[in-house]
Symmetry: C2
Subunit: 416 residues, 2 copies
């Protein structure tokens, strides 16, 4: 087991253990946000035939060679979903509606606005280019085309495209199941009695929300007492998960039973202790023979638990769900104050991000950086990365901030 | 009814009609992503008492005044969730664990690493500042504090905070219900027979996904035939929704029955026709006396339907759900090619966003801008805004792009 390793090394070790999960076939309409696990090849040509992009008249471009206005006989009408059996002959036009198939013989559509009614026919006032206002068969998709590749995130256009191909089910990567364990004699559920200094096991709730936002399916194993038998019973209930996340803490303290129980169950710690703040006492373990879940022992403090989840568990979940980009967005910002620390640990500093006087982004700390102050996480737009060996970041300097708030990028007005 | 109005004016008209919906009380653990509709005031103080931030020894700072090492008698032990009845007297220390209440008399905690065992006691090797490693009662929250304001988005830290306050239910804004109607004799459901040029009513599927991504609850009214009685039957089934979105099209064509049926039901069009491309034939209506849903008649082409939804329906949904920022994010990018158009309509141009050679963002069109090519929407990272009166955007110029892809901001590596 490694101890006291740099953040970068710890991240490489956890990501190295994470593989995209296998495929499952789900209803396409339930697949929003999932990651495609198959290559989608079209069995259809769309549009299936040349069709009109406008309401107007279908005709032969050759008939428009002379000066306008030009009068043509109207020999029929074709609506979307309709059929026109006979050809359009020279000197003839067919009334046509958007989406309707262009009749044989015709090759061009004149917009209704560029025509007027004439005795027994139509008068073309403005002649368009040959082929105008006709959508060619296969303009969108041809039969045999690869339309979506494995790894694509299924958003609204992808789901519309799948529907248009007649696909009602689709193969996507499974979502990891995450078992969440709390531990400690002082902990109760949110509806529990908090007299005598007891507190709610709130980490289970913030971590479950982080799991859902990352695309996983969390389940709460409950609160283990500081007792090896109780811990073993709850941990065993999480062994069929893909990830086991304990906010019971895996420490070196006399009261820690998590580590020996994990070892008894066959889990070996890969590392304990990461050179970061908050969050030093982070543990990562794997079961022998790569069976069983990946195991994270997160620190018990609310902020430390959330920050270590962000840095290590979330990228693992995203990789398991098949996402190509496992990490949070990052922005550069100008630091609005001086920051100091000792060398040796990378600090993740909770910051506000605001537009400065000249329009550039400014980062300002949310105040106390105590790892117990969960409220500071509700205020923070992101985590400023204060590198391990740095001891000072000066006001005005450009810093790198991981953006946590999914609303952060939304602007007041998207038009220029 | 207004016709042929600018995008900005149309957007102001639709947003003016949208109000945040009323509150509903939901289980806190189901409230991820919802918008708070109450002020949350804490009924608790957290931590409830001064407690230890470390494993170590609780003692009196006054005992550390002299030179180290200093030996103290260990008179007991207190774990998280435990109680220590007796005071810590001068010359005494109590073994303490993270989260445990600091016993009366003690005011400082020395980390275990800074001590060693001594005969019948503990030897303090490094003396910290007075008050060190103690989390004060109320450091996170004090009883009576306003911890969350109405309008806050409920993310992971907010849900953890609510749990820690013992809140298991919370008041949030209701999610708008959106009725989606397709219309046209050529349309079938995804499992339908597409012989004879029929096509799938795929807009209902892309629009439903757009609704879900925006935070609404869509339901599909089905496909209306080009027949007033069928249209009326389906439209009536959507009248209890908050929004009614027709991708049947509300046009001026001979085959359009949507508008007269809507008028029969009591809906008056506010505008028809917006100076944009794709998407000119967009209609917006309201029911008399502001009863009934807001009504959008979207163009039938797949891309036009998605783009007009983005510009008008999505901001309305976001406002109804209580979100403070109703719009998509926007970024500036350098244009990688020349673009031209006629003056008069604002164009939304589908573009890729890529890092250019010098690291700045570059925008490049996805190819065909035909409003029938849904596949181009699966490729696009965003929509470049080509202003109405502009006729040319030159390669190298800075342009404004609405970002559609929620994955766009995720970077390869969040550490510097």
């Amino acid at each position: 087991m490694r101890t006291g390793i740099p953040v970068e090394e710890a991240r490489a070790l956890v990501l190295d253990a994470a593989r995209p999960l296998g495929a499952e076939t789900v209803a396409a309409r339930e697949a929003l946000g999932r990651v495609l696990a198959e290559r989608v090849v079209s069995s259809r040509t769309l549009p299936p035939a040349d069709c009109s992009a406008m309401d107007g008249y279908a005709l032969r471009a050759a008939d428009l060679a002379g000066p306008t206005p030009i009068e043509l006989r109207v020999v029929g009408e074709v609506a979307a979903g309709g059929q026109r059996e006979s050809d359009v002959a020279p000197g003839e036009a067919v009334r046509i509606f958007t989406g309707a198939p262009v009749p044989p013989g015709a090759d061009t559509v004149v917009r209704q606005e560029d025509t007027e009614a004439a005795d027994g026919g139509v008068r073309i006032l403005v002649a368009p280019e040959p082929g105008a206002n006709v959508r060619d068969a296969g303009e969108d998709v041809r039969s045999g085309d690869v339309v979506l590749e494995p790894g694509a995130r299924l958003g609204a256009p992808e789901l519309g495209l799948l529907a248009s191909l007649g696909r009602s089910v689709v193969a996507v990567h499974q979502r990891p199941r995450v078992a969440i364990l709390s531990g400690g004699d002082e902990l109760v559920e949110p509806d529990g009695d908090v007299s005598g200094g007891r507190i709610v096991a709130s980490n289970a709730y913030s971590l479950a929300a982080q799991c859902r936002e990352a695309g996983a399916e969390p389940f709460n194993l409950g609160i283990a007492r500081d007792d090896p038998a109780d811990l073993e019973r709850l941990l065993r209930a999480g062994l069929q998960a893909d990830l086991l996340v304990s906010s019971a803490g895996v420490s070196v303290g006399d009261h820690d039973h998590v580590r020996p129980v994990l070892e008894k169950l066959g889990c070996r710690l890969v590392f304990w202790g990461v050179l970061m703040k908050p969050g030093y006492p982070l543990a990562f373990g794997r079961f022998e023979g790569e069976r069983g879940p990946l195991v994270f022992g997160l620190p018990g403090n609310p902020v430390s638990a959330m920050v270590t989840f962000e840095q290590f568990v979330r990228p693992v979940i995203r990789r398991m769900t098949g996402h190509r980009a496992p990490f949070r967005p990052r922005v550069d910002a100008r630091l609005a104050e001086d920051l100091e620390k000792k060398a040796g640990r990378l600090h993740f500093v909770r910051v506000f991000l605001e537009s400065g006087p000249d329009g550039t982004l400014e980062a300002r700390t949310t105040g106390t950086q105590s790892s117990g102050v969960l409220r500071s996480m509700t205020l923070a737009d992101g985590l400023l990365v204060f590198p391990a060996e740095a001891t000072r970041l000066a006001r005005g300097q450009t810093v790198s901030v991981q953006v946590l708030d999914p609303e952060f990028f939304a602007r007041e007005d998207p038009l220029p």
